[in-house]
């Protein structure tokens, strides 16, 4: 036997049409004999109708576009192979690549400093030849030279965008990234401090400039 409180608790579910079975039968029976309960049900039905009739502007297609864009980005776990002339690489990959290059260089240098560490003479020669061009290609700069500026690139900055900015500002990467993602930038011979600073400061791919 249901109490009046039980019936009261079920009334909203009678109003929304989800009540069924024995509970529906019990509430219906009570409604037949209880005018207050009927009035309350009418009020609840009116409240429900009012709530459901309220218009609301949802994100709609814009929200869907945002969702699919982010899903697409997240799905790109295995990036497509980079074509020979395609230098657009996210900053996260750039950092990993630079770290990897630095490790390779360090290993190379370390091996060169070890006299005859179980290495054939022709291999020693090859390592020496490999290390020199690597330094010329700029890997040595990323290991930490003097810096005129310290910057943090935006997480979504691409390598192409970074390269374009560095060229425009007349600077090169001289160090980094640090554990915090800091890069040291040094002025090229043709660069000017104030001009470079203003270009870097105005760039959207620089999150922080010191």
């Amino acid at each position: 036997m249901m109490t009046r409180d039980d019936l009261n608790a079920l009334l909203p579910f009678h109003a929304n049409g989800t009540l069924e079975g024995a509970e529906l039968a019990a509430v219906d029976a009570a409604l037949q004999t209880d005018a207050d309960l009927r009035a309350e049900l009418a009020a609840l039905q009116a409240i429900r109708a009012t709530m459901q009739s309220e218009e609301m502007q949802s994100p709609g297609d814009l929200g869907l576009a945002r969702l699919l864009r982010d899903v697409e980005a997240e799905s790109a776990i295995v990036p497509a192979p980079v074509a020979a002339n395609d230098n657009v690489v996210p900053i996260a990959r750039l950092r990993i690549w630079q770290i990897a290059a630095a490790v390779v260089l360090a290993v190379g240098l370390g091996l060169n400093m070890l006299p005859d560490a179980g290495r054939a003479p022709e291999m020693e020669s090859a390592m020496s030849e490999d290390a020199a061009p690597a330094a010329e290609q700029g890997f040595a700069l990323a290991s930490g030279g003097s810096a005129d500026f310290t910057v943090i690139f935006a997480p979504d900055a691409t390598e192409a965008a970074i390269r374009a900015l560095l060229l425009e500002a007349g600077v090169e990467i001289t160090g980094g990234p640090s554990a915090l993602g800091l890069y040291g930038l040094g002025l090229l011979e043709s660069g000017r401090d104030d001009a470079a600073r203003s270009i870097l400061a105005a760039s959207e791919i620089i999150d922080d400039l010191q």
Binding site: E40, L64, V71
Partner: protein, 183 residues
């Protein structure tokens, strides 16, 4: 309807973005409405809605099909809304006290014929979050108390209690506004 949603979930679990788009189109409005009703901030609700469907994408393969897809997704929205409210530090809104309370059916029925939307919106906002969520899911989404319990992660009896109190407070608030002649 739910079998359609479950079919879409299976496809989403397999990485089908079009299925995700279809599910989004089917449920975006009610989920968004629910989030807005809880947060009362359309912009923040946009972000939460986005996060909810990102979670759907990421965890579709963990959906076991024991509940309705809609219930499962509302559960995600419910928990994310709670996180936002915790960050805001406003988990427990105090109920408005009504100095001219009249919850007689006559007064309530009169109100139902009046400026319903404004009154209902106002009175919903005076409810505690748990009460508001229960009423919102019952009246906006027409959920059973079992489904609401699943969304909120509480026993069915708790939902019945919340609904009981929410209804009482809602009717009192509405009656009070009628008595006071609030426009």
């Amino acid at each position: 309807m739910d079998s359609d949603h479950k079919f879409l979930m299976t496809r989403i679990a397999g990485g089908d973005k079009q299925a995700l788009a279809a599910l989004y189109r089917a449920l975006e409005r009610p989920v968004y409405r629910f989030i807005v009703s809880r947060l009362n901030d359309p912009h923040e609700a946009n972000d939460i809605l986005h996060e909810v469907f990102m979670d759907v994408w990421r965890s579709a393969d963990r959906f076991e099909g024991r509940s309705k897809v809609q219930t499962w997704i509302f559960g995600i929205a419910y928990r994310k809304s709670i996180d936002v409210m915790r960050k805001r530090g406003r988990m427990d809104l105090t109920d408005e006290s009504f100095d001219m309370v009249d919850d007689s059916p006559d007064a309530v029925t009169c109100l139902a014929a009046g400026q319903e939307a404004d009154h209902v919106r106002h009175c919903l906002e005076t409810l505690k979050d748990d009460h508001k969520s229960a009423i919102t899911l019952a009246f906006y989404q027409d959920m059973t108390y079992g489904e609401i319990a699943e969304v909120a992660g509480v026993p069915e009896g708790t939902i019945k209690t919340r609904i009981f109190h929410a209804k009482k407070l809602l009717l009192r608030c509405l009656s009070g506004r009628v008595e006071r002649g609030v426009a």
